[in-house]
């Protein structure tokens, strides 16, 4: 019957890879060759991108706001650090997964507090949990190293084959591969029936439950998954920098994360990645121009983005490339960023 194949075709359409997406990842991979001297900053961007991807899963898809996402980043970071420091798990990839799972357990346990109540309650609860963990990390300095952080972390080679080098080349490839794999997983999740139910919950939870969606269970599930992602981002931070200090839990980290996601846009997964690139580049740029007042300029950019609207900015940015494509290939514009609702 044609109606069924129609339904199937349109239902899968959302999950199909677009040319712009493939171009995005080719570009990301080719950065390794384009900027061979900038591995450290690029790794920094990748970690932030993964961390923001995590926030996008709960904020962009399920509508859970959080001002304490650094809690999971921090737990992942310290877990990875302690695992390596005490030689509990020496192989980085396994340690990475274990650290992610530890953050995931914390995410599951705290999800019950977070799903209750509305946005303001959630902001306060998530913020509170992150502050609490920061205080705990400071209090138990015999384990965490307190304000000095974990000292003397030495990373073993990845899979026993690839040693971390001082230029950060290994760390960059390692982080990029982890980001890509977790992105694929996130992409699967958001295009599944589960992902669809999240979008419905974000829109109108009452209506979702009237359709038969177990709202709380879904929110707990995605919050737990997001905690895993944030934990992995934190563990990558420790593994690629051989550092873990109290600022992994810092409020600024959670707040910056929100900025990054707003810059990139919520609810289409690439927002976190694009936001991370833009945020770090702006930070670099403004720090060179005005080392002291760069935050002022970031703030200004944010205000402009929100006021002008991302959709219009996208149109301006893509106007040039699309013009070239039309001239060269004689086709209609092919580069487009899928737009979601405003954050």
């Amino acid at each position: 019957m044609t109606a069924i194949s129609d339904v199937s075709f349109h239902a899968i359409a959302r999950a199909r890879w677009r040319p712009a997406e493939i171009a995005f990842w080719i570009l990301a991979a080719s950065c390794a060759f384009l900027f061979p001297s900038r591995y450290l900053i690029m790794t920094d961007i990748i970690r932030l991108a993964l961390f923001t991807l995590s926030l996008d899963l709960i904020l962009g898809y399920a509508g859970i706001v959080s001002l304490g996402h650094a809690a999971f980043f921090g737990v992942g970071a310290y877990s990875a650090g302690l695992l390596a420091l005490h030689g509990i798990v020496n192989e980085p990839v396994i340690a990475l997964v274990v650290a992610g799972l530890i953050a995931m357990v914390l995410g599951f346990l705290t999800s019950f507090l977070v799903i209750r109540g509305v946005d303001l309650t959630r902001l306060m609860v998530t913020l509170g949990i992150a502050l609490l963990l920061e205080a705990l990390a400071e209090r138990f300095s015999n384990i965490t190293g307190g304000t000095d952080g974990l000292q003397g972390i030495e990373m073993q080679p990845i899979l026993g084959l690839f040693a971390f080098d001082m230029f950060g080349k290994t760390g960059f490839y390692y982080s990029l591969i982890v980001l890509f794999l977790l992105f694929l997983l996130a992409r699967r999740i958001v295009n599944s029936p589960f992902g669809l139910s999240l979008r419905a919950i974000k829109n109108n939870p009452l209506r979702a439950s009237a359709i038969g969606v177990p709202v709380n269970r879904r929110l707990i599930a995605i919050y737990t998954v997001a905690a895993f992602y944030a934990g992995i981002a934190g563990a990558l931070f420790t593994q690629t920098t051989a550092l873990a200090s109290l600022d992994v839990f810092a409020f600024e980290r959670s707040a910056d994360l929100m900025l990054v996601l707003v810059i990139g846009g919520t609810g289409y997964l690439y927002g976190g990645l694009i936001g991370a690139v833009v945020f770090k580049m702006l930070q670099e740029l403004f720090q060179t121009i005005t080392p002291q007042y760069w935050l002022f300029w970031i703030g200004l950019v944010l205000v402009v983005i929100v006021l002008v609207g991302r959709e219009r900015i996208h149109r301006w940015v893509l106007w040039g490339p699309n013009l070239v494509i039309r001239q060269v290939l004689g086709r209609t514009a092919v580069v487009a960023v899928p737009e979601s609702d405003a954050p």
């Binding site: 589960f194 669809l196 709202v215």
Partner: protein, 250 residues
């Protein structure tokens, strides 16, 4: 006759205000039952109690003989009690395909499926197609719900409820605000609901109520005033006084 939906001594108050008083209602299997009442009679509260959005202060709710008073909203839906919404609460930025797909996925227990993409399960696709076709939504299935004409949106509202395969369906003012030209489609869709689905219609529109219902309950100030077949209710002096009187003059 078996009873599909029953309430026993349902009570609900907000603070000192009693909005539902000792409400005992029996809806027979396969019935076309209408619940009417003037504004502020507490009809919406009754729906919220039945669907589980509100918890009653006292009383029980039974679906096909099973006590569902303590079940959460989504579990009642899976047991076969669905509703439509009076005010538009559809998902504006989902398509009809996605909206119906969501309901079908959840009913078939596929809603938690996080690994398979939408549209890759034949049983789900088949049911989506069937539902969309029945409510004349196939041609607009890939358009955003927000852009559909209002009449189509009301049809989608009923389609989503039917996609959950309800045994008892609560219709909350299905034709409210629909322009005259599109009204016919809605009425036809309501009339064409399968006979094995028990329908409880909550409605203002007297034409619709009297053309559709085979039994009518009149709610006033949160309590049941009269219950009976349409002609009896229409003749009842009490009902005329509080409710139909105004309508007859208009």
């Amino acid at each position: 006759m078996t009873i599909a939906l029953e309430t026993r001594g349902l009570e609900k108050s907000f603070g000192g205000l009693k909005v539902t008083r000792d409400l005992s209602l029996k809806v027979e299997q396969g019935a076309r039952h209408a619940l009417i009442g003037p504004n502020g009679a507490g009809k919406t509260t009754v729906i919220n109690l039945l669907t589980g959005v509100l918890k009653p202060n006292a009383g029980r709710i039974l679906l096909e003989g099973n006590d569902i008073t303590d079940l959460p909203v989504h579990k009642r839906v899976l047991r076969g009690l669905s509703r439509t919404f009076q005010i538009n609460q559809l998902y504006a930025d989902l398509t009809p395909l996605e909206t119906v797909g969501l309901a079908v996925s959840e009913r078939l227990g596929r809603g938690g499926d996080w690994w398979r993409r939408m549209g890759t399960r034949d049983d789900v696709n088949e049911e989506i197609a069937e539902t969309l076709e029945r409510f004349h939504l196939l041609d607009v299935m890939n358009e955003l719900t927000a852009t559909l004409p209002y009449g189509k949106q009301r049809l989608l509202e009923i389609a989503v409820a039917i996609a959950t395969k309800p045994r008892v369906l609560l219709l909350d003012e299905p034709a409210a605000g629909v322009p005259e030209s599109e009204r016919h489609d809605i009425l036809a869709a309501v009339a064409a609901l399968p006979r094995d689905v028990t329908v409880l219609l909550i409605e203002h529109d007297m034409d619709l109520v009297f053309s559709f219902a085979d039994r009518i309950s009149v709610l006033v100030n949160g309590a049941m005033l009269v219950e009976g077949p349409p002609d009896e209710v229409a003749r009842d002096p009490q009902v005329k006084a509080v409710y139909l009187g105004e309508a007859a003059d208009a």
